[in-house]
């Protein structure tokens, strides 16, 4: 599929899919943290590979939790946040202050990734009637450029034009800034759109 040729109707449908997924994920996160979590209306980003990298610089170091999307619409879900946000999430859930991310801390972040991506996929699965399952998550603390490029390549998206659905989560007083990407493999979007009857 040439993403630059998606119609407005198709883009709206994809945004709505993202919205339903992210809405459920925000609710799950808010229940987990016991406080209000807001989210932005998802963006469907159709950009060139180069643009992603010129925009982010690539050397910024972030925490990334990745989950493989399995089933009818394979792809990857990537949850990116700053080290401060990661530390803060660990503190909120374990009530312990950490200097470095311990094994326990990493598994807390994995669990957050698990819950968020699970609720995101469940919501999309129900909405589209497709079978969509998450893998066990993996967590990494590394350069944003390396994380993003590897995720896109592993999603078999390496054409000039790549697509992701992006949402930002915010927790008002503590400023959780988390970027949430769903990066579908080729063919997955077509399946979602056709099961919704959007041509």
């Amino acid at each position: 599929m040439d993403y630059s040729k998606l119609s407005n109707m198709q883009l709206d449908a994809l945004r709505e899919i993202g919205n339903i997924g992210a809405g459920n994920a925000a609710t799950a996160l808010s229940q987990l943290l016991g406080s209000k979590v807001d989210m932005t209306v998802p963006n469907v980003n159709i950009v060139s590979f180069d643009e992603i990298f010129s925009r982010i610089g690539g050397e910024e170091v972030v925490l990334g939790v990745i989950v493989r999307v399995l089933g009818d619409t394979p792809g990857n879900i990537l949850f990116i946040f700053t080290r401060e946000t990661g530390m803060d999430l660990i503190k909120q859930l374990t009530h312990k202050e950490e200097e470095e991310i311990s094994e326990m801390g990493a598994s807390v972040l994995c669990e957050i990734g698990n819950i968020i991506s699970g609720s995101y996929m469940n919501a999309i699965s129900k909405f589209t009637n497709l079978l969509i399952m998450p893998s066990v998550p993996a967590v990494t603390f590394d350069m944003l450029g390396a994380i993003l490029s590897t995720t896109f390549i592993e999603s078999e998206q390496f054409d000039e034009c790549v697509l992701d659905i992006e949402t930002t989560f915010m927790q008002d007083d503590t400023e959780i800034q988390g970027y949430f990407y769903y990066i579908p493999m080729p063919g997955s979007l077509e399946k979602m759109l056709s099961s919704l009857g959007v041509k």
Binding site: D50, V61, R68, V136, M143, S149
Partner: protein, 162 residues
């Protein structure tokens, strides 16, 4: 003469002469290939994403692929006056970024890139004099065209010169 730092993007390649440097940031499963002619002080750096162009119909950007990018970089260096027998290579990257506990979820693109890069260099008769491949960390690579040194930056591990 002031030195300039050139920047190589993803699926991209640049060539320069002393005293300039070339940088490429955020190598994950991608591999960075630095070629260098020590006598002429000509250096080139490519940042490839995929092992093999023959698997794809769309190969408009040849610098994405290990096989095409290295060949092209090599030829461009010869055009700029580098000598065949002087050119050596230093390579870095090809990591497996995501350490899934379920090994079935680990993809081997980094590994395949490493293998393809080595094969291509071998086919062209270019010797790899040092390498920093695989592992599970992202890397930034800087080639200094003055001495052929390649600095590798890794998160949490500082800078290593190879």
């Amino acid at each position: 003469m002031d030195s300039v730092q050139l920047r190589v993007g993803i699926g991209d390649c640049k060539i320069t002469k002393s005293p300039n440097t070339i940088i490429t940031v955020g190598l994950g499963s991608c591999v960075g290939i630095a070629l260098y002619d020590n006598r002429r002080k000509i250096g080139g750096l490519a940042h490839i994403m995929l092992p093999d162009s023959t698997q794809f119909s769309n190969t408009t950007n040849k610098y994405k692929f290990a096989d095409l990018a290295i060949k092209d970089l090599y030829n461009e260096m010869l055009k700029l006056g580098a000598f065949k027998n002087n050119i050596v290579a230093k390579v870095a990257g090809g990591a497996s970024m995501f350490n899934f506990s379920d090994k079935k979820m680990v993809m081997d693109i980094g590994e395949r890139n490493c293998v393809a890069v080595k094969k291509q260099l071998n086919d062209l008769g270019i010797q790899i004099i040092s390498e920093e491949l695989r592992g599970n960390r992202g890397r930034t690579m800087i080639l200094d065209a003055n001495d052929g040194n390649v600095s590798i930056k890794t998160v949490g591990e500082g800078i290593k010169v190879i």
